[in-house]
Every structure is written in structure tokens, then in C-alpha cells.
């Protein structure tokens, strides 16, 4: 199962480093920014690029899957966190948790974290569907360190792990395991053995892959290149713009505009925060804007 399929658009035609710069910048900003406006901007910019790359359907299915996780995250947060002055609901006293108090601030905080999760999942979606795995692997096998290679291979093996997961689940269902029945605790209890088998089979697969790489001389010296990825004008235009986006994020971080106080009451948005968020939105959506021009204007396509 190969997620990547070559498509006729600018995002697919970029140098792999340019694509990785985009994913890297968004990922970094998603980690350092806690402001919901910034996270929303990152989400929208990534979504625009994913749609420009022609992966709207795949992205929507990722989002559908993530929403369940985010919902769980919000339920846990609002149930256990009682900080915040704007009380929305006061419920009965529960064992361990105490009195059930749901506050607007806890809900907003969970929403913010959920948004961050959506950005990261969207980045992963873009990486999976719009960047050729062979190009990334080659890039890091030539230049990257061992840990980067491990991450690259792990993402390369991810689709195979999904296949393994389906296969193992099927085998267990044939033994009468009903994964869809029972309460949450029971469902998790039933799923744990699947992950146990998955872990062992993934380890076996990784060892076999590593053995195959070792036997074919991987890491035995400086490798040569069969195909050299060309740098084009489009890469030289996009990377500085993305750099500007990153600098804007860092600038915001230095001035404290990218952080947000959820507690004790939700803080108001400052004009500087909104301006910088708009700059980030514009710079990070730039590949999608350029893609639009690339598709519409033949002369632009020939020039970049």
C-alpha cells in the first residue's frame, strides 16, 4: 500500500527539501505556539496546501479519525480540570474526580490542544500523501543522521503497520473477539493484545528490513546518486517565504504574542497577535497561492 501518488500540481513538483521545510516550519510553530488564533492559522494554511496538493479527500478522512481523539481529549480535560472562573455547568459529586465542574476556560484549553493535534495530523497527512517516500529516504541516507533515518523508515513502514493492524484484528475477530462491543475499558482491554502482536511483528519487519539494507551495503561508505533532484526557481521562491513565516512565529514568541492565557479567564486578543497571525497565514499559504498561479498561468509555470 503506497499512499503517495504523483499528481500534476506544484506541491508534488517541489524539491523534497522544500516540502520538508514546509512541514518542519508548521510542525515547529505548532509546538511553540499555544495561541488558538495561531494554531487556527497553522491549521488553515496546512489545509490550503493539502487541498492544493490534491489530497482533500484523504485529509478529510484523517480529520474524521482525529475528531474522535480530540473529543475524548476534551471530555477528559473538562472533567478533570476545574480551573477557570466561567463555570458552565456544575454537576454531582463523582468518586475520585470530586464535584463535576465544567468551565469555559478548560473547554477552550482542550479546544486549543485539539487544534494543535489537528495541525500535527494534517502535517503528517501532507507528508504521507504529497512527498515521495523514496526521495526523503535518499535525502537522509545521504546526509541525515541515524535518528533521522529511523524516523524516515518508521514513517515509510507506517502504511505496512496499518495493514498489519487490520490483519491481526481480523485474526482475533475470527476467534470471537468483539472489538466494537462493551464499554470503553472493555474495548481498550480487547485492543491491547492487537498492539502487543503489532509491536512484535513490526519489530520483526524492521529487523528484516535492516538486515536487507545491511546486506546491500547500506552505510558502508559514501553512496552515489542515481537520480539528482533538481532545484528550480519555485524552490528558491518558496523557501525564503517560508523562512519569513518561521521568523514571524519566532518574533511573536519573543514578544509573547504566540502564547495565550486560558486561565483564570480567557484573555482578549491583541492587535499585534492578529497582525502576526495574518502574516503567518499568508506566508505559509504561499505554496498554495503559487500553485494556483502555476496551474492557471502557463508562462509562470514555464518560468518557475
Amino acid at each position: 500500500m503506497l499512499a503517495f501518488h504523483e499528481k500534476f500540481n506544484l506541491i508534488h513538483q517541489l524539491h523534497p527539501i522544500t516540502n520538508l521545510v514546509f512541514t518542519g516550519v508548521v510542525f515547529l510553530l505548532a509546538l511553540i505556539c499555544s495561541h488558538p488564533l495561531y494554531l487556527l492559522v497553522l491549521f488553515m494554511a496546512t489545509g490550503t496546501v493539502i487541498i492544493a496538493a490534491g489530497h482533500r479527500e484523504e485529509w478529510l478522512s484523517y480529520l474524521k479519525f482525529s475528531l474522535i481523539m480530540i473529543l475524548m481529549l476534551m471530555i477528559v480535560n473538562v472533567t478533570f480540570v476545574h480551573y477557570g472562573e466561567t463555570v458552565l455547568y456544575t454537576g454531582p459529586r463523582l468518586p475520585v474526580i470530586g464535584e463535576l465542574i465544567i468551565t469555559l476556560e478548560a473547554l477552550a484549553y482542550a479546544g486549543g490542544m485539539g487544534l494543535r493535534l489537528l495541525v500535527i495530523i494534517s502535517i503528517f497527512c501532507l507528508y504521507t500523501y504529497a512527498i515521495h517516500p523514496d526521495k526523503v529516504l535518499k535525502l537522509f541516507s545521504h546526509r541525515g543522521g541515524k535518528s533521522v533515518l529511523v524516523v524516515t523508515l518508521a514513517t515509510r513502514l507506517f502504511p505496512l503497520m496499518v495493514q498489519d493492524y487490520i490483519r491481526i484484528t481480523e485474526a482475533q475477530r475470527c476467534r470471537g473477539v468483539k472489538f466494537g462491543s462493551g464499554n470503553w475499558y472493555e474495548r481498550i482491554k480487547k485492543t491491547l493484545p492487537v498492539f502487543k502482536i503489532l509491536l512484535v511483528s513490526s519489530m520483526d519487519r524492521s529487523l528484516q528490513l535492516a538486515e536487507s539494507m545491511h546486506a546491500r551495503g547500506y552505510g558502508s561508505g559514501r553512496p552515489s546518486s542515481y537520480q539528482i533532484e533538481l532545484w528550480r526557481s519555485r524552490d528558491f521562491i518558496i523557501i525564503p517565504v517560508l523562512g519569513l513565516g518561521l521568523l514571524s512565529g519566532l518574533w511573536s514568541l519573543m514578544h509573547g504574542w504566540s502564547s495565550y492565557n486560558y486561565y483564570p479567564r480567557l484573555a482578549d486578543f491583541q492587535s499585534e497577535e492578529i497582525i502576526m497571525a495574518a502574516v503567518i497565514m499568508l506566508t505559509l499559504s504561499f505554496p498554495a497561492i503559487l500553485n494556483w498561479g502555476w496551474l492557471k498561468c502557463r508562462s509562470l509555470r514555464s518560468k518557475i
Partner: protein
């Protein structure tokens, strides 16, 4: 001058007390095609890995002795140089692929060797045309069939132009046609290019005729080193060794003084017992061997009518399938890789639902039943037994199934363990057991619910002849008790020996179904060695026992005439 010289090699994997390789001494000359035989866990793969330098460099462990490649001790050869001299193709084509595009996979090794761009391009062109992969050179690996993937794996190694080619059961996951194609290529490389080949195989009938030399391993030792097939046959006649192919086994059991190594030799021997006026055309198979259907066992277990199915991507996998099974029937489903066999099994046990048509299991429409509902009546064992095993003991694995299905243990788990020779391992961790034992545990975990229909997907993969025979005998016992058995396999010899009926699938349709004596005779690829031997001499001979009796009869007629 040997290209490979092994001197007193003993090797222990980390944290083990039993040697995987035990005092191995071996010289292999340039251009030899060596067949490495032995049961599961006999040390074949370890020896191959030691020659490739993966042992001990990659695996660690305790290592004594020397392995010399072209007179140079392997541990002193730089890894890059060693990769250029020794190429290794693994068993599972899927797990050895690093890249996702075919062309990139082929150049992966060459890039690691730092070869110049122009040379790589030339070699890609050469190997892709030599192995007939040019048509999908620019495709992606997940789109390829098993046979095509294994050809790509072979091409990626050959592109590095090694003088020594090591193959670790390269055809074990391929259908007979694809397996034959790979082995023909290996033979051609050996004959035309002089590449030294060491081939480890379980399905001896496919490659026995190719070997210049046969090494037999047991418990990490080379117990026999035979220079030709005849020597192997002589040895097989004297000793009870586990890796004798069915053809030789039949001649041994018929007490024939000559033991053939190939079908061609066998036919020569057979002809020497036949005169022109004494050609036997009686179909012994029809009279004595065909299983009579038990009138008490006419209960319909499965009925499929006009089944159509497509996956989400629109690929039509099953096309208008109609198929039925009654209690006590044993059917083997065969066909090339990717033809829809596994999908059909998943339809039967309701893991997948039909697009059109109807599947009735024990009188109930499968659309209204889930796989969990059917788990009591249908036992399904997928290709990978490890997918079933996760608990700490074998006994717990059986109890787990019973618990899930709401069944009580009325002594069934004890019976099943006993029957599958697993009683002594009841308290053992399933993952510590051997391949064959693990497979039996997975089977036990399915059989414990007393299913009326048993579905097995490639159950003989990775099993040696002895383990296969054991599995076959267990299935025959279950069949005798009334269990309907449907097996998907590429193993023609297994199908010939144990099934009653054969169904052939091609491109999503069942193109033929019938008695094994009719289906497995007169076929080029889907025919066992014994059937090939008697082809045109005695019709419908398929099984080992049948062949033995026919051969004995032919020999008796010959001797009686001589006496007269």
C-alpha cells in the same frame, strides 16, 4: 580453488545455549549450484547469513571458526567489498524492499556501493531486460504480484554483480508458475554467467534437478554432502531422512533398486519395466483410491451463489462465484498470486460482505451474520499464525477462544492439545516454539470451538516435509469426523496428497473444480511430481501411496514375465 571456505564454524545466537551452526567445514567451488536442505530450524538460514557476513556482524552472538570468501577471511573484508562479492535474496519479498519504486529498489544497492551514475544506468537496463522486468520498471512495488516482487529483489542483488548468490527459500511464497520462473532464472544465471549459487529450499521438488551438489543440515550441522542427485537417492533409500522429495520417496517405498532424482530419470526407470505390449492404462485411481462419498455426510455446510465483490478502489476481485461444500469434504483452492483466493475465504467467514450474490453458511445468510457470530462454526487460520498468538501460554490461547465464544471447556482443549501433539507445551509461551509448533498452536486455538467448516490460508508455508505430513494427517482426521475443509495453497504436492477435490481460481473466477485425480493430472504446473511421472503411462495417478502401488504392480508384471 574454493570461492567459499568455511573452517570449523560454530555459532550461537545471543542468549542461547544451543549452537545454530555446529562445527561446519565446507568448501564451495566457483560456479557450483549448491542446494541446501534440512528441516525447519536445521540451520540453513544461519549458514547463509554466515556466508553473507550478517553473522556475526549484524546478529552478534558467539562465533568461532573462519569463513573465507575468495581466500580472504570474511571479517577482514570491508562491508562494501563483501556486498559486491556476495548477494543475498531473502524469503519474504515484502520485507526486503526498502524503496517504493521498482527502479529505485534496483539501484539501492548500487548507490550504497558508490557506483558512478552511468554504470548504474547500464546495469539497470541489463538486469531489467535479463529478468524481464522492463515493463514495470517505472512502477511501484506495492502494485506488483509476489513473483514480480521476488524478481525485483533478485534484480536489486544482481545489479551489484556479486560472484556468489545466496537464496533463502526464494519461492516459498510464490505460486508454482512464479516459483518456476524464478528458479529458471537462477539456473540460467548459474549456467550462463558462472555465478556460484547456494539455494536453501523446503520444496525440493521444484529445484532438486538443478543442483550440482546437495548439502543436508540437521541441528546446525552438515550431515551429508552429496555431489549429485543419485548419491542423494542412494542415501535416501538407506536412511530415513526428512527432506526426500515425493518422487524419490515413492521409489524407495516401492523397493525399486533405482531411485530417480528427477521426473525424467523416473520415467526412464519406469519405461525400463514396460514393454510395448504391456503398457498399463488401467486407471487404478478410479477403482481403488477415489473416496466414496459418505451418504450420512451430505449436510450442506456452505453454499455460494453468484458472488461478486470489489474493493473500495473499484478493483473487481471476485466475479460470479458459485461454490458449495458439504460436511466431510476436503477442497484445495489453487491459483496464481492475487487472483482472489484469500478474499473468497474472507467472504465465507463474513470478514467481507458480498456486493452481489449470496453466501449461505449452515443454512444462514452470511449478510446477517458477523465474523464473530460465525466464529463457532467456521475456523479460519490466516497466512501468518503469529497474528493469533499473544498470551503467555499455549493453554491460555485455547481458553481465550473458548471464553470469547462463551463456550465451556468440557475437556476439548485437552483433546485438541493431545491430538496436535502439543500437550507437553501447554505451559510454554507460544512465541518460544518452533514454526511448525506455533502453527499447530494457532490451529488449536481455532479448532477448540469445534468448527464445522475449517478455512486455512497457505498453511504449509515454511513447513518442511515432515511438518507438512503431520498437518495433512491432522486435517484428514478432522475430515473423517465430518469437518468440511477448504485450504488455499500453492503447494501442489500437499494438495495432491491430502485433498479430495481441487478448485482452480483465475482472475476472480473459479474456472474449474473437480476430483483431484482429474484436476492434477496432465497439467504443466499444477501437477505433482508423481502425476508427471505417470503421465501418458498410467492415468490419474496423483498420490504417493497410489504411485507406490502402481509402481509395484508394474514391477511385479515385469518380473513375472521375466520368470515366464
Amino acid at each position: 580453488m574454493p570461492v567459499i571456505a568455511i573452517q570449523n564454524l560454530t555459532y550461537y545466537y545471543p542468549n542461547t545455549s544451543v549452537p545454530a551452526l555446529d562445527r561446519i567445514n565446507l568448501d564451495i567451488k566457483a560456479g557450483e549450484l549448491v542446494l541446501l536442505l534440512g528441516g525447519s530450524g536445521s540451520g540453513k538460514s544461519s549458514l547463509i547469513r554466515a556466508i553473507a557476513g550478517l553473522i556475526p556482524e549484524y546478529y552478534g552472538g558467539t562465533y568461532q571458526g573462519k569463513v573465507l570468501i575468495n581466500r580472504q577471511e570474511i571479517q577482514h573484508i570491508k562491508r562494501r567489498d563483501l556486498a559486491q562479492q556476495v548477494g543475498l535474496v531473502f524469503q519474504d519479498p515484502e520485507s526486503q524492499m526498502v524503496m517504493t519504486s521498482v527502479e529505485q529498489e534496483i539501484v539501492f544497492g548500487m548507490e550504497n556501493l558508490g557506483l558512478p551514475n552511468q554504470l548504474m544506468k547500464r546495469r539497470v537496463m541489463e538486469v531489467s531486460s535479463a529478468l524481464s522486468i522492463s515493463s514495470y520498471l517505472h512502477g511501484t512495488i506495492p502494485e506488483l504480484s509476489g513473483g514480480q516482487k521476488q524478481k525485483v529483489a533478485l534484480a536489486s542483488v544482481l545489479a551489484m554483480q556479486p560472484g556468489i548468490l545466496l537464496l533463502d527459500e526464494p519461492t516459498s511464497q510464490l505460486d508454482p508458475v512464479a516459483g518456476e520462473e524464478i528458479l529458471t532464472m537462477v539456473r540460467r544465471l548459474n549456467e550462463d554467467n558462472g555465478i556460484t549459487v547456494i539455494l536453501a529450499e523446503q520444496r525440493l521438488e521444484r529445484c532438486f534437478h538443478m543442483a550440482d551438489r546437495i548439502l543436508i543440515m540437521e541441528q546446525g550441522r552438515i550431515v551429508h554432502d552429496l555431489r549429485n542427485q543419485s548419491a542423494f537417492s542412494v542415501l535416501a533409500a538407506k536412511k530415513d531422512i526428512s527432506c526426500v522429495p515425493p518422487l524419490a520417496q515413492m521409489f524407495i517405498q516401492a523397493e525399486c533398486p533405482q531411485i530417480p532424482a528427477t521426473v525424467k530419470q523416473g520415467r526412464d526407470i519406469l519405461r525400463s519395466y514396460l514393454t510395448e505390449d504391456a503398457v498399463i492404462r488401467s486407471t487404478l485411481a478410479d477403482k481403488a483410491f477415489r473416496r466414496r462419498k459418505d451418504p450420512d455426510r451430505q449436510k450442506e455446510i456452505l453454499n455460494i451463489r453468484n458472488l461478486w465483490f470489489s474493493y473500495h478502489n473499484g478493483q473487481e476481485v471476485l466475479k460470479n462465484i458459485s461454490f458449495s461444500m458439504k460436511a466431510g469434504e476436503f477442497v484445495v483452492l489453487m491459483g496464481s498470486n492475487g487472483t482472489g483466493k484469500t478474499t473468497l475465504l474472507k467472504q465465507i467467514n463474513s470478514l467481507l460482505k458480498p456486493d452481489r450474490g449470496q453466501i449461505t453458511v449452515l443454512g444462514q445468510d452470511s449478510r446477517s451474520l458477523s465474523v464473530e457470530d460465525l466464529a463457532c462454526d467456521i475456523g479460519y487460520l490466516s497466512q501468518n499464525p503469529s497474528d493469533y498468538l499473544f498470551l503467555a501460554t499455549v493453554q491460555e490461547e485455547l481458553s481465550f477462544t473458548l471464553h470469547n465464544l462463551g463456550l465451556s471447556d468440557d475437556g476439548i482443549s485437552h483433546d485438541i492439545l493431545e491430538r496436535l501433539h502439543l500437550s507437553q507445551y501447554a505451559a510454554a509461551n507460544p512465541r518460544d516454539l518452533s514454526t511448525g509448533q506455533r502453527q499447530r498452536v494457532a490451529l488449536a486455538s481455532v479448532l477448540v470451538s469445534r468448527p464445522q467448516l475449517l478455512l486455512l490460508d497457505e498453511p504449509t508455508r515454511g513447513l518442511d516435509y515432515v511438518l507438512k505430513r503431520e498437518l495433512g494427517n491432522i486435517l484428514k482426521e478432522l475430515q473423517a469426523e465430518g469437518t468440511a475443509i477448504l485450504v488455499v495453497t500453492h503447494d501442489v504436492e500437499f494438495a495432491a496428497e491430502f485433498a479430495d477435490e481441487i478448485a482452480l481460481m483465475d482472475q476472480g473466477s473459479i474456472i474449474a473444480r473437480g476430483d483431484k485425480y482429474a484436476m492434477l493430472s496432465n497439467s504443466t504446473f499444477y501437477s505433482p511430481q508423481i502425476s508427471k511421472l505417470f503421465n501418458g503411462i498410467v492415468d490419474g495417478v496423483v498420490t504417493l501411496e497410489q504411485g507406490r502401488q502402481v509402481l509395484k504392480t508394474i514391477m511385479a508384471i515385469y518380473h513375472n514375465r521375466e520368470v515366464v
